[in-house]
Symmetry: C2
Subunit: 328 residues, 2 copies
Amino acid sequence: MIKIVVDLMGADKPANELVSGAIKAINENKDLTVVLCAKEEVILPVLDTLTYNKEQVEIVNCTEEITNNDIPTKAFRKKPDSSLVKGLNICKNDPLAGGFVSCGSTGAVLVSSMFILGRIGEVRPCLACLLLGNDGEFLISDCGANVDCKPEQIVDFAKMGVAYMKAKGIENPRVRLLSNGAEEKKGPDAIKEAHQMLKASGLNFLGNVEGKDILASTCDVVAADGFGGNTVIKTIEGTAKALFMDLLAKAKASTSEAEALVLKKTVKELMAKYDYNTLGGANLLGVTKPVIKGHGAGEAETFYNMIKEAYALAKGNMIGIMEKLLTE
Amino acid sequence: MIKIVVDLMGADKPANELVSGAIKAINENKDLTVVLCAKEEVILPVLDTLTYNKEQVEIVNCTEEITNNDIPTKAFRKKPDSSLVKGLNICKNDPLAGGFVSCGSTGAVLVSSMFILGRIGEVRPCLACLLLGNDGEFLISDCGANVDCKPEQIVDFAKMGVAYMKAKGIENPRVRLLSNGAEEKKGPDAIKEAHQMLKASGLNFLGNVEGKDILASTCDVVAADGFGGNTVIKTIEGTAKALFMDLLAKAKASTSEAEALVLKKTVKELMAKYDYNTLGGANLLGVTKPVIKGHGAGEAETFYNMIKEAYALAKGNMIGIMEKLLTE
């Protein structure tokens, strides 16, 4: 049995609107237990209306909430009875706890996770985002937690990404390095050095990838420094948004109602694919348990997706694989 | 009268398939002359079939061609009778010459331009790409000529971009700085320093821009180090390509012929907007004349667009504005 700890507070929506996502997840997985961290009085009335196996739910009453107004580096000390702090402590101390998910304040989730769960060895944790390419999922690691990275850090981001994809069932994940050219001599000094180190790393390294091929599914893990990775995921989001606006403008300008309908329907169907928030959230890699941080605007479905993802990572022994790769 | 020097060789297509683009440009602008650099025997038969004012065309016979197989740093010495070298020399020495356009080898065009035309003062030249946002054109500068940039270089990229947009008629171009967050404290050290310098530069600086807002037309010039700028333009291209593939896949899978037609037509209409090659090519800024380098796969229409753009930059006195901004 695997427990996933769910921080239902700190998001834009109140916990009572989010909790059904957790119930959906346990109803699909009999060996999954969710540890729901929230104000009891807020979630109990909703839980009463749902059908599920009570043995798969633990409720942790939390009286405090950490918000975007709290200073990330101080919040976890100042609010010990918050869902974030209580949840992370359970995640750390319960041997059955396999991961933690939250849509709370990004800074607070990252700082508190690093402080409470601790890092794997001396590694610099990174943020990894799962995206959908033409041919399935792939991971970009780092997506913005670290800038001005040393080459060895970028190699660690690659290793942590590989552990993630291995846990998801990819046997020998293909790794590429984000650069501004396909040739190994292209890129800033740190990227060129990382290229050489990746070549010698024993990972399944296939060379550089440029922004134009990121979504072409030529690899399972894109290793990047946080500045480049962040630029990629945000540019994907922005480009898709701009293109959807073009499609909707065409729909509006069209004299054919049928054409307008086709365009609007298409936008609706494709939107989620290019929103890095909907898929699985951002993963904090390098701490001792899987931590997934969803968008503040996350909904019940976001929690469902994050819980499923954390469960898969725990089941696939991501942390064990990561520890091995990072110490090799 | 403004002369634009046109290097018709070194592209994937032969000069005879490209020359009509130059003729289209002069037929639209009575005070434009094109200096066509190519093998006479290749272009004369085509020119004979076209209608245009002979006084607006100068032909420079070139017996050599620089290709991607030539070493960029050596090509311009080894092939003095190439269209690239002869064209750049005319561009340098003819006081009426207002700019140079080519679809030849990128490395050779850049190196030869810097060597033959020379730089403006001590500035590090950059590559700037014109893109279409939701609300019109904007420029990203640098797009890949320089990595590991110093903050003062990034400020120069901004200034050169501003000169470009001023020449195009934007009175007080809005400048933003590419970073991995909107806040001024976000980003690598060089970007954070560049932010402070831009604030004090006297430019119309509006702060950082993230990848997700690049196409939202919140500025006229995006200042970036070459790694970030390159990542942005290539990710835009790749995302658009992936989305177009999704639309075409939907068209293929659709059981409704009308729906499939709408989707295919839409892709066709939007494709050019997200291809940074079609708009104006990449601009080499920081040399003493406007230089535009189009994609190797450029067609007659590419030359038409590049010539129009170079003509506009010459007419708008980009170089004069740039010299002033860079020495202020």
